[in-house]
């Protein structure tokens, strides 16, 4: 399976009306909201178990799972610790630990 990504890491910087599309689309507001600060558990992927199905990537509600060298990689700036990825992983490849202060 080949999944193509556009501008996966390109920061979206909007200074005003001139940078914005005519409608509320592609504002990149998900990227601006660093939801990593919400996390109190940290998901960790066990790549020995991972079969690269990318279900975790699909279900993650934040821009927190990226595909790097054909592997799912968690970006902890955005991961809010909801554990949807761990819940849905068909191979139980995602475990989690509590975040320390």
């Amino acid at each position: 399976m080949v999944i193509k990504f556009q501008n996966n890491d390109k920061p979206v910087i909007i200074t005003g009306a001139k940078d914005m599309p005519p409608m509320a689309a592609a504002l990149g507001s998900m990227l601006q909201n660093k939801t990593g600060s919400w996390r109190n558990v940290r998901p960790i992927i066990d790549y020995d178990k991972c079969i690269k199905c990318f279900i975790c990537w699909k279900v993650c509600p934040e821009p927190a799972i990226k595909i790097v060298d054909e592997l799912p990689v968690i970006d902890y700036d955005y991961c809010k610790g909801c554990l949807m990825c761990a819940e849905e992983c068909p191979k139980d490849a995602i475990d989690f630990e509590k975040e320390g202060k």
Binding site: T15, G16, A17, K18, M23, A24, L27
Partner: protein
């Protein structure tokens, strides 16, 4: 008795004090707390009312229409997309001359998805035959609900009470709850001359050809005209029992003002503070809060503004393709009557905060510039 409560709860307690008999509502942020609280009040036996859960706002208004047509005092609350979904039924309630009172939490229309304050939702319903009140405090939300029924049941037109999302809906402040005994005297049970009654069947909303429809519209306009004085009387009577006065317009430091800011909703209260600061700087500025926009208080506005050198309107709404709606209405009221330049500002759409500094900026801009202007978008990021 004085209590603290959020603006939303002031709406719920207003409905409870009015002894509404039928509540039909559908939840929507930021209105949800109003109906949640009312369902508690009904469940706890603090209000003898039928609470009807419906599947949409359209149905909520339909249920209120049915209830009101049978002579019940009916209430609902909504916001933004919910109010828009009611649109057809709003005309119906107006033309059926049903004294329903509804609370609308002013919220910006989507998309982009927003839950924040903006008056476009209710102003889009301006021509449906509802009287429209814009409240600026939690106290006024409660009081307006009671005054609303009083006026509605007299002139047989529904009342829409709107207030800003979050700035009032979720803000806790001090509210004086009037004694129910006083309110019972102020607002006796609703006894309509025409109502749906199985023992006395009549037709309602039947086919009305051009022989009659035109006259119904005429009568609706007459009722709106009369409502101006009736709102004043109802406000005065309310003042007698509570000490709190309400009119159609609320001028603040306008008597000797060179320039008057024209505002509504929560921006109006913050503007009072800005006016005090401007006065302290030696600038003779006043604030005219428009509390009721339908019926339009043309005479009352002219009385306040005549003699003033300049007017500046701040609108938290926009009629795309023209300008702010309060501004348009003000200009049309002045035309042929007095020649005062009006400067028009848009501010705070989608809940953007309008701070004291912003209001002072707009006032100073208006003081400096003499020409009537094109629309100014305060703080827009270009």
């Amino acid at each position: 008795m004085k209590k603290t409560m959020m603006g939303n709860y002031a709406a719920s307690w207003g409905a409870q004090l009015a002894r509404v008999q039928v509540i039909a509502a559908y939840p929507i942020t930021p209105q949800t707390l109003i109906v949640e609280k009312l369902s508690d009040i009904v469940a706890d036996g603090e209000l003898d009312a039928k609470f009807i859960k419906v599947e949409s706002e359209h149905s909520a208004m339909a249920a209120c229409i049915g209830a009101s047509a049978t002579g019940a005092r009916a209430y609902t609350a909504t916001s933004a997309q919910g109010l828009a979904l009611m649109h057809e039924m709003l005309h119906w309630a107006g033309l059926a001359r049903l004294p329903i009172v509804m609370t609308n939490v002013n919220r910006a229309m989507a998309p982009g998805w927003s839950i924040w304050a903006d008056q476009n939702d209710s102003l889009s319903q301006r021509d449906t035959g509802w009287m429209q009140i814009y409240a600026s405090s939690a106290q006024e939300i409660l009081d307006s609900t009671l005054i609303g029924y009083k006026v509605s049941e007299k002139v047989l037109l529904p009342t829409l009470i709107s207030f800003d999302a979050f700035f009032l809906s979720h803000t806790m402040e001090v509210v004086d709850m009037p004694e129910i005994e006083l309110i019972d005297k102020y607002l006796p049970p609703y006894k309509p001359d025409y109502k749906m009654d199985v023992n006395d069947p009549r037709s309602f909303g039947a086919l009305t050809d051009e022989q009659y429809y035109y006259e119904f519209r005429y009568k609706m306009q007459k009722a709106m005209d009369e409502a101006v004085d009736i709102i004043k009387e109802a406000g005065k009577e309310y003042e007698k029992i509570t000490g709190r006065a309400y009119g159609l317009v609320h001028p603040y430091r306008c008597e000797d003002a060179d320039m008057i800011l024209v505002t509504s909703g929560t921006i109006a209260d913050t503007t009072n503070v800005a006016v005090d600061e401007l006065r302290a700087e030696g600038k003779k500025v006043g604030n005219l809060r428009i509390r009721v926009i339908r019926p339009y208080p043309k005479k009352e506005i002219l009385e306040v503004v005549k003699g003033v050198k300049k007017l500046a309107v701040i609108d938290r709404n926009i009629s795309p393709g023209y300008s702010g709606i309060f501004s348009q209405e003000l200009k049309s009221a002045l035309y042929n009557e007095v020649d005062i330049p009006v400067r028009s500002y848009i501010a705070g759409l989608g809940g953007r905060d309008v701070k004291i500094e912003d209001i002072k900026d707009m006032a100073n801009d208006a003081l400096k510039n003499d020409a009537p202007n094109d629309l100014i978008w305060k703080g827009v990021k270009i």
